[in-house]
Symmetry: C2
Subunit: 311 residues, 2 copies
Protein backbone atom coordinates (compact mmCIF):
# COMPACT_ATOMS: atom_id res chain seq x y z
CA UNK A 1 0.00 0.00 0.00
CA UNK A 2 1.47 3.35 -1.01
CA UNK A 3 2.08 5.67 1.90
CA UNK A 4 -0.38 8.46 2.63
CA UNK A 5 -0.38 11.33 5.13
CA UNK A 6 -3.30 12.08 7.48
CA UNK A 7 -3.69 15.58 8.88
CA UNK A 8 -6.09 18.16 10.25
CA UNK A 9 -6.32 21.88 9.52
CA UNK A 10 -3.78 24.68 9.85
CA UNK A 11 -3.37 26.13 13.36
CA UNK A 12 -4.16 22.66 14.66
CA UNK A 13 -6.24 22.13 17.79
CA UNK A 14 -6.74 18.98 19.83
CA UNK A 15 -9.33 17.64 17.37
CA UNK A 16 -7.08 18.24 14.35
CA UNK A 17 -4.08 16.53 15.91
CA UNK A 18 -5.79 13.92 18.09
CA UNK A 19 -8.17 12.76 15.38
CA UNK A 20 -5.37 12.58 12.78
CA UNK A 21 -3.58 10.16 15.10
CA UNK A 22 -6.78 8.19 15.77
CA UNK A 23 -7.90 8.01 12.14
CA UNK A 24 -4.43 7.02 10.96
CA UNK A 25 -4.47 4.16 13.47
CA UNK A 26 -7.95 3.16 12.30
CA UNK A 27 -7.23 3.04 8.56
CA UNK A 28 -3.86 1.36 9.10
CA UNK A 29 -5.72 -1.45 10.89
CA UNK A 30 -7.88 -1.71 7.75
CA UNK A 31 -4.77 -2.14 5.59
CA UNK A 32 -3.75 1.43 4.71
CA UNK A 33 -0.22 2.74 5.17
CA UNK A 34 -0.53 6.19 6.71
CA UNK A 35 1.38 8.55 8.97
CA UNK A 36 -0.42 11.14 11.07
CA UNK A 37 1.19 14.57 10.67
CA UNK A 38 0.22 18.14 11.54
CA UNK A 39 0.19 21.53 9.84
CA UNK A 40 1.63 23.19 12.95
CA UNK A 41 2.93 22.63 16.46
CA UNK A 42 0.43 21.56 19.15
CA UNK A 43 -0.99 24.34 21.31
CA UNK A 44 -0.69 24.14 25.11
CA UNK A 45 -3.96 22.27 25.52
CA UNK A 46 -3.08 19.69 22.87
CA UNK A 47 0.44 19.31 24.27
CA UNK A 48 -1.14 18.59 27.66
CA UNK A 49 -3.38 15.89 26.17
CA UNK A 50 -0.55 14.31 24.15
CA UNK A 51 1.69 14.18 27.23
CA UNK A 52 -1.09 12.83 29.45
CA UNK A 53 -1.66 9.84 27.16
CA UNK A 54 1.94 9.29 26.13
CA UNK A 55 1.93 10.50 22.52
CA UNK A 56 4.67 12.43 20.73
CA UNK A 57 3.59 15.52 18.82
CA UNK A 58 3.14 14.55 15.15
CA UNK A 59 5.76 15.70 12.66
CA UNK A 60 4.92 19.14 11.22
CA UNK A 61 4.72 19.37 7.42
CA UNK A 62 4.65 22.48 5.22
CA UNK A 63 3.85 20.64 1.98
CA UNK A 64 2.58 17.15 1.13
CA UNK A 65 3.19 16.60 -2.57
CA UNK A 66 6.96 16.24 -2.12
CA UNK A 67 6.31 13.17 0.06
CA UNK A 68 3.12 11.48 -1.10
CA UNK A 69 0.62 11.38 -3.94
CA UNK A 70 -2.44 10.99 -1.74
CA UNK A 71 -3.63 12.32 1.61
CA UNK A 72 -6.49 11.94 4.09
CA UNK A 73 -8.06 14.97 5.77
CA UNK A 74 -9.62 15.14 9.21
CA UNK A 75 -11.54 18.00 10.81
CA UNK A 76 -11.55 20.18 7.66
CA UNK A 77 -12.20 20.15 3.93
CA UNK A 78 -11.89 23.76 2.77
CA UNK A 79 -8.69 24.09 0.72
CA UNK A 80 -7.60 27.36 2.33
CA UNK A 81 -7.57 25.63 5.73
CA UNK A 82 -5.47 22.74 4.44
CA UNK A 83 -1.85 22.12 3.45
CA UNK A 84 -0.50 24.75 1.05
CA UNK A 85 -0.16 22.34 -1.89
CA UNK A 86 -3.45 20.51 -1.39
CA UNK A 87 -4.24 21.01 -5.09
CA UNK A 88 -1.20 18.89 -5.99
CA UNK A 89 -2.28 15.74 -4.14
CA UNK A 90 -5.25 13.42 -4.34
CA UNK A 91 -7.58 13.31 -1.32
CA UNK A 92 -8.59 9.70 -0.72
CA UNK A 93 -10.54 10.08 2.52
CA UNK A 94 -12.14 12.84 4.58
CA UNK A 95 -13.66 12.68 8.06
CA UNK A 96 -15.12 15.98 9.13
CA UNK A 97 -17.86 17.78 11.02
CA UNK A 98 -17.89 21.09 9.14
CA UNK A 99 -19.82 22.44 6.16
CA UNK A 100 -18.44 21.44 2.74
CA UNK A 101 -16.99 24.37 0.80
CA UNK A 102 -14.81 24.60 -2.32
CA UNK A 103 -13.92 20.93 -1.94
CA UNK A 104 -13.73 19.33 -5.39
CA UNK A 105 -12.23 16.01 -6.45
CA UNK A 106 -11.54 14.30 -9.78
CA UNK A 107 -12.38 10.84 -8.45
CA UNK A 108 -14.80 9.17 -6.06
CA UNK A 109 -13.49 9.05 -2.49
CA UNK A 110 -14.40 8.13 1.07
CA UNK A 111 -16.12 11.08 2.69
CA UNK A 112 -17.69 10.86 6.09
CA UNK A 113 -19.19 13.94 7.63
CA UNK A 114 -21.71 14.28 10.43
CA UNK A 115 -23.05 17.38 12.15
CA UNK A 116 -21.63 16.40 15.55
CA UNK A 117 -19.43 18.28 17.99
CA UNK A 118 -16.08 16.71 17.16
CA UNK A 119 -14.43 14.65 14.43
CA UNK A 120 -13.25 12.13 17.02
CA UNK A 121 -16.89 11.32 17.75
CA UNK A 122 -17.28 10.15 14.14
CA UNK A 123 -14.04 8.14 14.31
CA UNK A 124 -15.26 6.56 17.57
CA UNK A 125 -18.42 5.56 15.71
CA UNK A 126 -16.34 4.05 12.90
CA UNK A 127 -14.34 1.96 15.37
CA UNK A 128 -17.66 0.80 16.78
CA UNK A 129 -19.10 -0.07 13.36
CA UNK A 130 -16.03 -2.14 12.56
CA UNK A 131 -16.07 -3.67 16.04
CA UNK A 132 -12.43 -2.60 16.30
CA UNK A 133 -10.90 -2.18 19.75
CA UNK A 134 -9.66 1.29 20.72
CA UNK A 135 -6.36 1.20 22.65
CA UNK A 136 -6.58 2.82 26.11
CA UNK A 137 -4.26 5.73 25.32
CA UNK A 138 -5.83 6.44 21.96
CA UNK A 139 -9.23 6.53 23.67
CA UNK A 140 -7.80 9.18 26.02
CA UNK A 141 -6.62 11.25 23.08
CA UNK A 142 -9.97 11.00 21.26
CA UNK A 143 -11.72 11.90 24.53
CA UNK A 144 -9.47 14.98 24.76
CA UNK A 145 -10.47 16.04 21.25
CA UNK A 146 -14.17 15.84 22.07
CA UNK A 147 -13.75 17.69 25.37
CA UNK A 148 -11.79 20.39 23.54
CA UNK A 149 -14.27 20.90 20.68
CA UNK A 150 -17.35 20.78 22.87
CA UNK A 151 -15.87 22.67 25.86
CA UNK A 152 -16.67 19.70 28.10
CA UNK A 153 -20.00 19.01 26.34
CA UNK A 154 -21.22 22.57 27.01
CA UNK A 155 -20.97 23.98 23.48
CA UNK A 156 -24.24 24.12 21.49
CA UNK A 157 -22.53 21.92 18.88
CA UNK A 158 -22.69 19.02 21.37
CA UNK A 159 -24.93 16.12 20.33
CA UNK A 160 -26.08 12.97 22.10
CA UNK A 161 -23.51 11.08 20.05
CA UNK A 162 -20.70 13.23 21.48
CA UNK A 163 -21.97 12.52 24.98
CA UNK A 164 -22.10 8.78 24.29
CA UNK A 165 -18.58 8.90 22.83
CA UNK A 166 -17.24 10.76 25.88
CA UNK A 167 -18.79 8.23 28.26
CA UNK A 168 -17.45 5.28 26.29
CA UNK A 169 -13.96 6.70 25.70
CA UNK A 170 -13.52 7.86 29.31
CA UNK A 171 -14.32 4.33 30.42
CA UNK A 172 -11.72 2.82 28.06
CA UNK A 173 -9.14 5.47 28.99
CA UNK A 174 -9.86 5.05 32.69
CA UNK A 175 -10.21 8.75 33.48
CA UNK A 176 -12.82 10.92 35.18
CA UNK A 177 -13.64 13.01 32.14
CA UNK A 178 -14.94 16.04 34.04
CA UNK A 179 -11.89 16.32 36.23
CA UNK A 180 -9.42 15.55 33.44
CA UNK A 181 -11.32 17.71 30.95
CA UNK A 182 -11.24 20.82 33.11
CA UNK A 183 -7.52 20.36 33.75
CA UNK A 184 -6.90 19.96 30.02
CA UNK A 185 -8.98 23.00 29.06
CA UNK A 186 -7.24 25.07 31.75
CA UNK A 187 -3.87 24.02 30.34
CA UNK A 188 -4.90 25.84 27.16
CA UNK A 189 -5.81 29.08 28.90
CA UNK A 190 -2.39 30.28 29.96
CA UNK A 191 -2.13 33.44 27.89
CA UNK A 192 0.28 35.31 30.16
CA UNK A 193 3.47 34.06 28.52
CA UNK A 194 2.32 34.53 24.90
CA UNK A 195 2.44 37.62 22.73
CA UNK A 196 -0.71 39.05 21.19
CA UNK A 197 0.63 38.07 17.76
CA UNK A 198 0.85 34.46 18.90
CA UNK A 199 -2.52 34.46 20.63
CA UNK A 200 -4.49 35.75 17.64
CA UNK A 201 -2.99 32.99 15.46
CA UNK A 202 -3.30 30.07 17.88
CA UNK A 203 -6.77 28.94 16.87
CA UNK A 204 -7.64 31.03 13.83
CA UNK A 205 -9.46 30.17 10.62
CA UNK A 206 -10.08 32.10 7.41
CA UNK A 207 -13.43 32.11 5.65
CA UNK A 208 -14.35 33.50 2.27
CA UNK A 209 -17.67 35.21 2.85
CA UNK A 210 -19.16 36.68 -0.30
CA UNK A 211 -15.74 37.68 -1.59
CA UNK A 212 -14.47 38.91 1.79
CA UNK A 213 -11.52 37.28 3.51
CA UNK A 214 -12.76 36.99 7.08
CA UNK A 215 -10.50 35.78 9.88
CA UNK A 216 -12.03 34.40 13.07
CA UNK A 217 -9.71 33.59 15.98
CA UNK A 218 -10.62 32.22 19.37
CA UNK A 219 -8.83 32.17 22.72
CA UNK A 220 -9.98 30.21 25.76
CA UNK A 221 -9.42 31.81 29.16
CA UNK A 222 -10.55 31.39 32.76
CA UNK A 223 -10.28 35.11 33.56
CA UNK A 224 -11.88 37.43 30.99
CA UNK A 225 -10.93 40.75 32.68
CA UNK A 226 -7.28 39.68 32.73
CA UNK A 227 -7.43 39.06 28.97
CA UNK A 228 -9.24 42.34 28.28
CA UNK A 229 -6.44 44.29 29.94
CA UNK A 230 -4.51 43.54 26.75
CA UNK A 231 -7.31 44.76 24.46
CA UNK A 232 -5.38 47.58 22.77
CA UNK A 233 -2.46 45.29 22.05
CA UNK A 234 -4.83 42.65 20.61
CA UNK A 235 -6.46 45.22 18.33
CA UNK A 236 -3.06 46.42 17.10
CA UNK A 237 -1.93 42.85 16.40
CA UNK A 238 -5.20 42.16 14.55
CA UNK A 239 -4.76 45.32 12.46
CA UNK A 240 -1.21 44.37 11.53
CA UNK A 241 -2.22 40.80 10.65
CA UNK A 242 -5.07 42.12 8.51
CA UNK A 243 -2.72 44.40 6.57
CA UNK A 244 -0.15 41.65 6.08
CA UNK A 245 -2.59 38.95 5.01
CA UNK A 246 -5.34 40.95 3.38
CA UNK A 247 -8.09 40.11 5.86
CA UNK A 248 -11.17 42.26 5.26
CA UNK A 249 -12.33 41.62 8.79
CA UNK A 250 -10.65 40.10 11.83
CA UNK A 251 -12.72 38.91 14.78
CA UNK A 252 -11.21 37.64 18.01
CA UNK A 253 -13.49 35.67 20.29
CA UNK A 254 -12.22 35.47 23.88
CA UNK A 255 -14.15 32.73 25.65
CA UNK A 256 -14.38 32.06 29.36
CA UNK A 257 -14.49 28.27 29.46
CA UNK A 258 -15.85 28.25 33.00
CA UNK A 259 -19.09 30.13 32.33
CA UNK A 260 -19.26 29.88 28.49
CA UNK A 261 -19.40 33.63 27.92
CA UNK A 262 -17.33 35.52 25.36
CA UNK A 263 -16.09 38.98 24.48
CA UNK A 264 -15.44 39.76 20.82
CA UNK A 265 -12.92 42.21 19.40
CA UNK A 266 -13.39 43.28 15.79
CA UNK A 267 -11.08 45.00 13.33
CA UNK A 268 -12.06 46.02 9.79
CA UNK A 269 -13.65 48.75 7.67
CA UNK A 270 -16.66 50.64 9.02
CA UNK A 271 -18.78 48.80 6.47
CA UNK A 272 -17.56 45.40 7.62
CA UNK A 273 -18.00 46.38 11.26
CA UNK A 274 -21.58 47.33 10.40
CA UNK A 275 -22.00 43.87 8.81
CA UNK A 276 -20.67 42.32 12.01
CA UNK A 277 -23.20 44.32 14.05
CA UNK A 278 -25.99 43.19 11.74
CA UNK A 279 -24.85 39.57 12.12
CA UNK A 280 -25.09 39.60 15.91
CA UNK A 281 -27.75 42.27 16.36
CA UNK A 282 -25.43 44.17 18.72
CA UNK A 283 -23.47 47.40 18.56
CA UNK A 284 -19.72 47.42 18.87
CA UNK A 285 -18.45 49.75 21.53
CA UNK A 286 -14.86 50.78 20.91
CA UNK A 287 -14.34 47.66 18.69
CA UNK A 288 -15.68 45.42 21.46
CA UNK A 289 -18.89 43.59 22.22
CA UNK A 290 -20.10 41.08 24.80
CA UNK A 291 -21.47 37.84 23.33
CA UNK A 292 -22.91 35.92 26.28
CA UNK A 293 -23.32 32.20 25.60
CA UNK A 294 -21.37 32.32 22.33
CA UNK A 295 -18.65 29.67 22.42
CA UNK A 296 -18.82 27.96 19.02
CA UNK A 297 -17.20 29.57 15.98
CA UNK A 298 -18.80 26.97 13.73
CA UNK A 299 -22.33 27.14 15.04
CA UNK A 300 -22.68 30.60 16.56
CA UNK A 301 -20.25 32.79 14.63
CA UNK A 302 -19.75 31.63 11.04
CA UNK A 303 -23.46 31.12 10.16
CA UNK A 304 -24.61 34.64 11.26
CA UNK A 305 -21.53 36.21 9.63
CA UNK A 306 -22.20 34.25 6.42
CA UNK A 307 -25.80 35.43 6.35
CA UNK A 308 -24.89 39.04 7.10
CA UNK A 309 -22.15 39.17 4.45
CA UNK A 310 -24.37 37.53 1.87
CA UNK A 311 -27.49 39.53 2.53
CA UNK B 1 -39.86 16.12 12.36
CA UNK B 2 -40.28 18.44 9.38
CA UNK B 3 -40.79 16.63 6.10
CA UNK B 4 -37.89 16.21 3.69
CA UNK B 5 -37.63 14.80 0.18
CA UNK B 6 -35.08 12.15 -0.83
CA UNK B 7 -34.08 11.85 -4.48
CA UNK B 8 -31.39 10.80 -6.94
CA UNK B 9 -30.12 12.57 -10.05
CA UNK B 10 -31.93 13.73 -13.18
CA UNK B 11 -32.57 11.05 -15.84
CA UNK B 12 -32.87 8.60 -12.96
CA UNK B 13 -31.56 5.05 -13.22
CA UNK B 14 -32.20 2.08 -10.95
CA UNK B 15 -29.63 3.30 -8.40
CA UNK B 16 -31.11 6.82 -8.27
CA UNK B 17 -34.68 5.57 -7.78
CA UNK B 18 -34.04 2.35 -5.85
CA UNK B 19 -31.60 3.92 -3.42
CA UNK B 20 -33.87 6.93 -2.83
CA UNK B 21 -36.57 4.48 -1.72
CA UNK B 22 -34.11 2.49 0.41
CA UNK B 23 -32.47 5.50 2.05
CA UNK B 24 -35.81 7.13 2.77
CA UNK B 25 -36.92 3.92 4.52
CA UNK B 26 -33.64 3.84 6.46
CA UNK B 27 -33.71 7.42 7.75
CA UNK B 28 -37.43 7.21 8.55
CA UNK B 29 -36.65 4.26 10.81
CA UNK B 30 -34.11 6.54 12.53
CA UNK B 31 -36.81 9.15 13.14
CA UNK B 32 -36.77 11.31 10.01
CA UNK B 33 -39.89 12.16 8.04
CA UNK B 34 -39.01 11.74 4.38
CA UNK B 35 -40.65 10.84 1.08
CA UNK B 36 -38.66 9.27 -1.75
CA UNK B 37 -39.29 11.07 -5.03
CA UNK B 38 -37.62 11.14 -8.46
CA UNK B 39 -36.49 13.75 -10.97
CA UNK B 40 -37.97 11.75 -13.85
CA UNK B 41 -39.96 8.66 -14.81
CA UNK B 42 -38.31 5.25 -14.33
CA UNK B 43 -36.63 3.76 -17.41
CA UNK B 44 -37.63 0.27 -18.62
CA UNK B 45 -35.02 -1.47 -16.48
CA UNK B 46 -36.05 0.41 -13.32
CA UNK B 47 -39.74 -0.15 -14.08
CA UNK B 48 -39.00 -3.88 -14.33
CA UNK B 49 -37.25 -3.87 -10.94
CA UNK B 50 -39.99 -1.82 -9.26
CA UNK B 51 -42.70 -4.14 -10.61
CA UNK B 52 -40.74 -7.29 -9.67
CA UNK B 53 -40.54 -6.23 -6.03
CA UNK B 54 -43.93 -4.57 -5.77
CA UNK B 55 -43.02 -0.89 -5.59
CA UNK B 56 -44.85 2.02 -7.19
CA UNK B 57 -42.74 4.47 -9.20
CA UNK B 58 -41.92 7.43 -6.93
CA UNK B 59 -43.70 10.71 -7.56
CA UNK B 60 -41.82 12.91 -10.06
CA UNK B 61 -40.92 16.41 -8.89
CA UNK B 62 -39.71 19.38 -10.94
CA UNK B 63 -38.82 21.59 -7.98
CA UNK B 64 -38.34 20.99 -4.28
CA UNK B 65 -38.40 24.37 -2.56
CA UNK B 66 -42.16 24.78 -3.03
CA UNK B 67 -42.69 21.68 -0.87
CA UNK B 68 -39.86 21.43 1.65
CA UNK B 69 -37.01 23.40 3.18
CA UNK B 70 -34.57 20.51 3.27
CA UNK B 71 -33.68 17.54 1.07
CA UNK B 72 -31.47 14.45 1.04
CA UNK B 73 -29.52 13.47 -2.08
CA UNK B 74 -28.58 9.97 -3.17
CA UNK B 75 -26.32 8.92 -6.05
CA UNK B 76 -25.24 12.47 -6.93
CA UNK B 77 -24.01 15.72 -5.46
CA UNK B 78 -23.19 17.98 -8.41
CA UNK B 79 -25.82 20.75 -8.55
CA UNK B 80 -26.32 20.54 -12.32
CA UNK B 81 -27.37 16.89 -11.95
CA UNK B 82 -29.86 17.71 -9.19
CA UNK B 83 -33.27 19.31 -8.90
CA UNK B 84 -33.51 22.65 -10.70
CA UNK B 85 -33.93 24.70 -7.50
CA UNK B 86 -31.33 22.86 -5.42
CA UNK B 87 -29.81 26.23 -4.44
CA UNK B 88 -33.07 27.16 -2.70
CA UNK B 89 -33.14 24.22 -0.27
CA UNK B 90 -30.84 22.95 2.45
CA UNK B 91 -29.18 19.58 1.87
CA UNK B 92 -29.20 17.68 5.16
CA UNK B 93 -27.80 14.34 3.99
CA UNK B 94 -25.96 12.91 1.00
CA UNK B 95 -25.14 9.28 0.19
CA UNK B 96 -23.11 8.96 -2.97
CA UNK B 97 -20.37 7.10 -4.82
CA UNK B 98 -19.21 9.85 -7.19
CA UNK B 99 -16.54 12.51 -7.05
CA UNK B 100 -17.51 15.70 -5.16
CA UNK B 101 -17.85 18.73 -7.43
CA UNK B 102 -19.34 22.20 -6.91
CA UNK B 103 -21.14 20.96 -3.82
CA UNK B 104 -21.14 23.68 -1.16
CA UNK B 105 -23.19 24.00 2.00
CA UNK B 106 -23.69 26.71 4.63
CA UNK B 107 -23.95 24.21 7.49
CA UNK B 108 -22.46 20.91 8.61
CA UNK B 109 -24.36 17.90 7.24
CA UNK B 110 -24.34 14.14 6.98
CA UNK B 111 -22.26 13.14 3.97
CA UNK B 112 -21.41 9.55 3.26
CA UNK B 113 -19.47 8.72 0.13
CA UNK B 114 -17.46 5.63 -0.74
CA UNK B 115 -15.72 4.67 -3.97
CA UNK B 116 -17.90 1.59 -4.51
CA UNK B 117 -19.97 0.44 -7.48
CA UNK B 118 -23.38 1.56 -6.31
CA UNK B 119 -25.00 3.84 -3.74
CA UNK B 120 -27.19 0.97 -2.54
CA UNK B 121 -24.04 -0.84 -1.44
CA UNK B 122 -23.34 2.02 0.99
CA UNK B 123 -26.93 2.03 2.22
CA UNK B 124 -26.73 -1.75 2.72
CA UNK B 125 -23.63 -1.12 4.85
CA UNK B 126 -25.51 1.50 6.86
CA UNK B 127 -28.36 -0.92 7.57
CA UNK B 128 -25.70 -3.39 8.70
CA UNK B 129 -23.97 -0.86 10.96
CA UNK B 130 -27.28 -0.01 12.62
CA UNK B 131 -28.21 -3.69 12.79
CA UNK B 132 -31.47 -2.71 11.10
CA UNK B 133 -33.41 -5.38 9.24
CA UNK B 134 -33.91 -4.90 5.49
CA UNK B 135 -37.40 -5.90 4.33
CA UNK B 136 -37.41 -8.64 1.66
CA UNK B 137 -38.76 -6.43 -1.13
CA UNK B 138 -36.52 -3.53 -0.34
CA UNK B 139 -33.53 -5.89 -0.45
CA UNK B 140 -34.64 -6.88 -3.95
CA UNK B 141 -34.77 -3.26 -5.04
CA UNK B 142 -31.33 -2.49 -3.57
CA UNK B 143 -29.99 -5.63 -5.26
CA UNK B 144 -31.43 -4.36 -8.56
CA UNK B 145 -29.61 -1.03 -8.13
CA UNK B 146 -26.26 -2.75 -7.58
CA UNK B 147 -26.77 -5.12 -10.52
CA UNK B 148 -27.66 -2.13 -12.69
CA UNK B 149 -24.71 0.06 -11.72
CA UNK B 150 -22.15 -2.75 -11.87
CA UNK B 151 -23.62 -4.55 -14.90
CA UNK B 152 -23.97 -7.72 -12.84
CA UNK B 153 -20.65 -7.15 -10.99
CA UNK B 154 -18.72 -6.95 -14.29
CA UNK B 155 -18.02 -3.20 -14.40
CA UNK B 156 -14.52 -2.13 -13.25
CA UNK B 157 -16.25 -0.01 -10.62
CA UNK B 158 -17.23 -3.21 -8.80
CA UNK B 159 -15.64 -3.69 -5.37
CA UNK B 160 -15.61 -6.58 -2.91
CA UNK B 161 -18.17 -4.65 -0.90
CA UNK B 162 -20.57 -4.62 -3.86
CA UNK B 163 -20.15 -8.37 -4.22
CA UNK B 164 -20.81 -8.91 -0.51
CA UNK B 165 -23.88 -6.68 -0.72
CA UNK B 166 -25.24 -8.57 -3.73
CA UNK B 167 -24.78 -11.94 -1.99
CA UNK B 168 -26.45 -10.70 1.19
CA UNK B 169 -29.32 -8.86 -0.50
CA UNK B 170 -30.07 -11.72 -2.93
CA UNK B 171 -30.39 -14.02 0.07
CA UNK B 172 -32.83 -11.68 1.85
CA UNK B 173 -34.79 -11.10 -1.37
CA UNK B 174 -34.85 -14.81 -2.16
CA UNK B 175 -33.75 -14.49 -5.79
CA UNK B 176 -31.02 -16.01 -7.93
CA UNK B 177 -29.19 -12.76 -8.63
CA UNK B 178 -27.55 -13.89 -11.88
CA UNK B 179 -30.77 -15.07 -13.43
CA UNK B 180 -32.82 -12.14 -12.15
CA UNK B 181 -30.05 -9.67 -12.94
CA UNK B 182 -29.74 -10.66 -16.58
CA UNK B 183 -33.50 -10.49 -17.01
CA UNK B 184 -33.56 -7.02 -15.43
CA UNK B 185 -30.67 -5.71 -17.54
CA UNK B 186 -32.28 -7.11 -20.69
CA UNK B 187 -35.51 -5.32 -19.81
CA UNK B 188 -33.54 -2.09 -20.18
CA UNK B 189 -32.15 -2.91 -23.62
CA UNK B 190 -35.28 -2.67 -25.69
CA UNK B 191 -34.42 0.26 -27.91
CA UNK B 192 -36.64 -0.71 -30.86
CA UNK B 193 -39.69 1.18 -29.69
CA UNK B 194 -37.87 4.38 -28.65
CA UNK B 195 -36.87 7.38 -30.76
CA UNK B 196 -33.24 8.46 -30.98
CA UNK B 197 -34.19 11.65 -29.10
CA UNK B 198 -35.49 9.54 -26.24
CA UNK B 199 -32.56 7.13 -26.24
CA UNK B 200 -29.85 9.80 -26.03
CA UNK B 201 -31.58 11.33 -23.00
CA UNK B 202 -32.43 8.14 -21.12
CA UNK B 203 -29.21 7.87 -19.11
CA UNK B 204 -27.37 11.09 -19.80
CA UNK B 205 -25.30 13.34 -17.56
CA UNK B 206 -23.68 16.73 -18.08
CA UNK B 207 -20.18 17.53 -16.89
CA UNK B 208 -18.40 20.86 -16.81
CA UNK B 209 -14.89 20.05 -18.02
CA UNK B 210 -12.57 23.02 -17.99
CA UNK B 211 -15.37 25.34 -19.05
CA UNK B 212 -16.85 22.93 -21.59
CA UNK B 213 -20.36 21.58 -21.23
CA UNK B 214 -19.87 17.89 -22.01
CA UNK B 215 -22.80 15.50 -22.28
CA UNK B 216 -22.22 11.76 -21.86
CA UNK B 217 -25.13 9.40 -22.55
CA UNK B 218 -25.16 5.63 -22.33
CA UNK B 219 -27.46 2.97 -23.78
CA UNK B 220 -27.36 -0.71 -22.84
CA UNK B 221 -28.07 -3.21 -25.61
CA UNK B 222 -27.71 -6.92 -26.28
CA UNK B 223 -27.19 -6.45 -30.04
CA UNK B 224 -24.65 -3.75 -31.00
CA UNK B 225 -25.02 -4.07 -34.81
CA UNK B 226 -28.78 -3.57 -34.48
CA UNK B 227 -28.16 -0.33 -32.56
CA UNK B 228 -25.49 0.88 -35.00
CA UNK B 229 -27.96 0.63 -37.86
CA UNK B 230 -29.44 3.80 -36.39
CA UNK B 231 -26.09 5.62 -36.22
CA UNK B 232 -26.96 8.50 -38.56
CA UNK B 233 -30.18 9.16 -36.71
CA UNK B 234 -28.34 9.10 -33.37
CA UNK B 235 -25.76 11.61 -34.64
CA UNK B 236 -28.49 13.91 -35.90
CA UNK B 237 -30.34 13.74 -32.56
CA UNK B 238 -27.08 14.46 -30.70
CA UNK B 239 -26.34 17.46 -32.94
CA UNK B 240 -29.82 18.87 -32.36
CA UNK B 241 -29.58 18.34 -28.59
CA UNK B 242 -26.17 20.03 -28.56
CA UNK B 243 -27.51 23.09 -30.37
CA UNK B 244 -30.57 23.30 -28.14
CA UNK B 245 -28.72 22.87 -24.84
CA UNK B 246 -25.33 24.34 -25.63
CA UNK B 247 -23.34 21.12 -25.25
CA UNK B 248 -19.76 21.58 -26.47
CA UNK B 249 -19.42 17.84 -26.94
CA UNK B 250 -21.91 14.98 -26.91
CA UNK B 251 -20.75 11.40 -26.50
CA UNK B 252 -23.05 8.42 -26.72
CA UNK B 253 -21.74 5.15 -25.32
CA UNK B 254 -23.60 2.08 -26.62
CA UNK B 255 -22.75 -0.85 -24.39
CA UNK B 256 -23.32 -4.53 -25.06
CA UNK B 257 -24.16 -5.80 -21.58
CA UNK B 258 -23.47 -9.42 -22.57
CA UNK B 259 -19.80 -9.00 -23.51
CA UNK B 260 -19.04 -5.60 -21.89
CA UNK B 261 -17.89 -3.93 -25.12
CA UNK B 262 -18.96 -0.50 -26.30
CA UNK B 263 -19.14 1.68 -29.39
CA UNK B 264 -18.95 5.44 -28.93
CA UNK B 265 -20.51 8.12 -31.13
CA UNK B 266 -19.21 11.66 -30.76
CA UNK B 267 -20.57 15.03 -31.88
CA UNK B 268 -18.74 18.36 -31.38
CA UNK B 269 -16.21 20.75 -32.88
CA UNK B 270 -13.08 19.36 -34.57
CA UNK B 271 -11.10 20.62 -31.59
CA UNK B 272 -13.29 18.82 -29.09
CA UNK B 273 -13.25 15.65 -31.19
CA UNK B 274 -9.43 15.85 -31.11
CA UNK B 275 -9.63 16.17 -27.33
CA UNK B 276 -11.82 13.07 -27.26
CA UNK B 277 -9.26 11.17 -29.39
CA UNK B 278 -6.48 12.28 -27.04
CA UNK B 279 -8.53 11.10 -24.04
CA UNK B 280 -8.96 7.57 -25.38
CA UNK B 281 -5.82 7.32 -27.52
CA UNK B 282 -7.98 6.29 -30.50
CA UNK B 283 -9.01 7.91 -33.76
CA UNK B 284 -12.64 8.56 -34.52
CA UNK B 285 -13.73 7.12 -37.84
CA UNK B 286 -16.79 8.90 -39.21
CA UNK B 287 -17.68 10.11 -35.63
CA UNK B 288 -17.43 6.54 -34.33
CA UNK B 289 -14.93 4.49 -32.35
CA UNK B 290 -14.86 1.05 -30.75
CA UNK B 291 -14.10 1.07 -27.01
CA UNK B 292 -13.70 -2.59 -26.02
CA UNK B 293 -14.14 -3.21 -22.29
CA UNK B 294 -15.40 0.31 -21.59
CA UNK B 295 -18.66 0.09 -19.66
CA UNK B 296 -18.34 2.65 -16.86
CA UNK B 297 -18.95 6.32 -17.54
CA UNK B 298 -17.70 7.22 -14.09
CA UNK B 299 -14.50 5.20 -14.09
CA UNK B 300 -13.59 4.80 -17.75
CA UNK B 301 -15.04 7.83 -19.50
CA UNK B 302 -15.20 10.89 -17.25
CA UNK B 303 -11.62 10.64 -15.83
CA UNK B 304 -9.84 10.44 -19.24
CA UNK B 305 -12.11 13.16 -20.64
CA UNK B 306 -11.42 15.35 -17.61
CA UNK B 307 -7.67 14.90 -18.03
CA UNK B 308 -7.77 15.55 -21.77
CA UNK B 309 -9.90 18.70 -21.45
CA UNK B 310 -7.76 20.03 -18.62
CA UNK B 311 -4.44 19.35 -20.09
Amino acid sequence: MEKELVFGHQNPDTDAIGTAIAFSYFVNKLGCNTEPVALGEPNDETAYALAKFGFEAPRVIKTASDEVKSVMLVDHNEPQQSVSDIDKVKVSRVVDHHRIMNFNTADPLYYRAEPVGCTSTIVWEMFDEQEMEIPEKLAGLMLSAIISDTLLLKSPTTTDKDKAAVEALAKIAGVDYKEYGLAMLKAGTNIADKSEDELIDLDAKSFELNGNNVRVAQINVVDLPEAMERKDAFLKAMENASKENGYDMFMLLITNILDSDSEALVVGSDENKATFEKAFGKKLSDSEVKLPGVVSRKKQVVPPLTNAFEG
